[in-house]
């Protein structure tokens, strides 16, 4: 992915979090939000697989987390704010998610940001 920014709301540029996504990713999101609690963060770090199985995640979802496949997790309906808690627990942050989404190294994305565009309503169709 280059630094060109498309002026549309289509994937992979943008993932809109709809009701359909929320239903699809309900358990993933619930798992991510469970990590708001420090004791759960400890349990997850102690045994990722066991924690995720207990959270009711599917094998596919567990594999996505194990691979730190942030893009796949968002596509599977994990809400960004919930996946961010997973990333933070694993010592990563928003930049890692963004870089994975933009198919860049973190350093490259940080160098490019803010990715400036200049357009007013009705423009850059």
């Amino acid at each position: 992915m280059s630094n060109s920014i498309p002026f549309n709301l289509d994937p992979p540029g943008t993932y809109i979090y709809t009701g359909e996504m929320a239903t699809k990713g309900y358990k993933l999101t619930r798992f991510g939000l469970s990590l708001r609690r420090p004791d759960n963060r400890e349990k997850f770090l102690a045994d990722e697989d066991a924690y995720m199985r207990a959270a009711g995640l599917s094998d596919e979802e567990i594999a996505l987390v194990k691979a730190r496949d942030w893009t796949g997790l968002l596509q599977a309906g994990g809400h960004l704010q919930a996946m961010l808690k997973v990333a933070a627990t694993l010592g990563q942050n928003l930049w890692h998610i963004g870089a994975h989404n933009a198919e860049m190294e973190v350093e490259e994305l940080m160098r490019l940001c803010p990715r400036k565009v200049n357009a007013l309503p009705g423009g850059e169709d």
Binding site: I5, A22, R36, R37, L94, G98, L109, C113, P114
Partner: protein, 280 residues
């Protein structure tokens, strides 16, 4: 009766809070120094306005609520609101003081007269939506009671811009029927241009953000009439949070002075602030 003395809107981000804490300990990073310098006059203004209460319209980022029950519009009514653990621990700041009487009054008026069916939260943990900027706008102890109102911005459908603008007008009516002589400030927080997922991560549309700031005082209806999809298309998905600003603007009259505004891009989020004072 209580009186609205003005309002302000300000961006929020988790990094804003973390950078503030780091900056206070070791000096601000060059990326963030302009924002903390640029918002310093807001702190002085807020101290000078010295409101008795603040009604703060913000959005939760799945830090208190979850999708078992995620309210579209919710009001916090409690003596205090603790800080939410967002997944990386708490920052060294106290709880926020609430105003139960004003909270129930607003709820009664908004539900019965305004047609806004709020979810009432008698226990509400508050995230960076308020905690990221409060520490540099107000010294502790935070003794100005607040009434927080949370708007769903994390899962579509989100409320329309017109709905939030009308919500602001109803907040005004509700405050003006509160039997007290309190001077109240209405605050909105969210936006400006940003997108924190997808390949468009980091989009930054300064032209759009400055356009928005320039129109908010005198041409707000033009902004309200913009489809939210257009704000998102040009400014990123989270630019939709700018709709929250309409609740603040709607709570003010047209007889206002714009007393301050500032805008910059610290990292991946367009950060803006704007303050209005009622002339009356």
């Amino acid at each position: 009766m209580a009186k609205i003395i003005g309002g302000f809107a300000i961006s929020h981000t988790p990094s804003m809070g973390m950078e503030y804490d780091k900056g206070m300990a070791n000096g601000f990073s060059p990326h963030w120094q302009p924002w903390f310098d640029g918002t310093r006059p807001m702190k002085d203004w807020l101290a000078r306005m010295n409101p008795d209460r603040m009604v703060i319209v913000y959005n939760d980022h799945l830090n208190h609520f979850d999708f078992d029950a995620y309210p579209t519009l919710a009001i916090g009514i409690a003596p205090e609101f603790r800080q939410a653990d967002e997944g990386w621990g708490l920052r060294p700041f106290p709880s926020l003081v609430g105003d139960v009487d004003l909270g129930w009054h607003l709820t009664n008026k908004l539900v019965r007269d305004g047609g806004f069916d709020l979810t009432v939260c008698q226990d509400l943990a508050i995230d960076h939506g308020i905690y990221s900027w409060m520490p540099y706008l107000k010294d502790t102890p935070w003794d100005t009671p607040i009434v927080p109102i949370a708007i769903n911005m994390v899962r579509h459908p989100i409320p329309t811009s017109q709905r939030l603008y009308n919500f602001g007008k109803s907040i005004r009516a509700a405050i003006e029927s509160f039997p007290s002589d309190e001077r109240i400030l209405v605050v909105a927080t969210g936006g400006m241009s940003h997108q924190i997922s997808g390949a468009r991560f980091g989009i930054a549309n300064e032209k759009l953000d400055r356009y928005f700031l320039s129109k908010l005082k005198s041409y707000v209806q033009e902004l309200v009439d913009l489809p939210q999809e257009e704000l998102m298309r040009l400014g990123g998905t989270e630019a939709a949070e700018l709709a929250i600003w309409f609740a603040m603007r709607g709570a003010l009259t047209d007889n206002i002075d714009e007393v301050y505004s500032y805008y910059t891009f610290p990292a991946i989020t367009g950060c803006g602030v704007i303050a209005f004072e009622e002339k009356g």
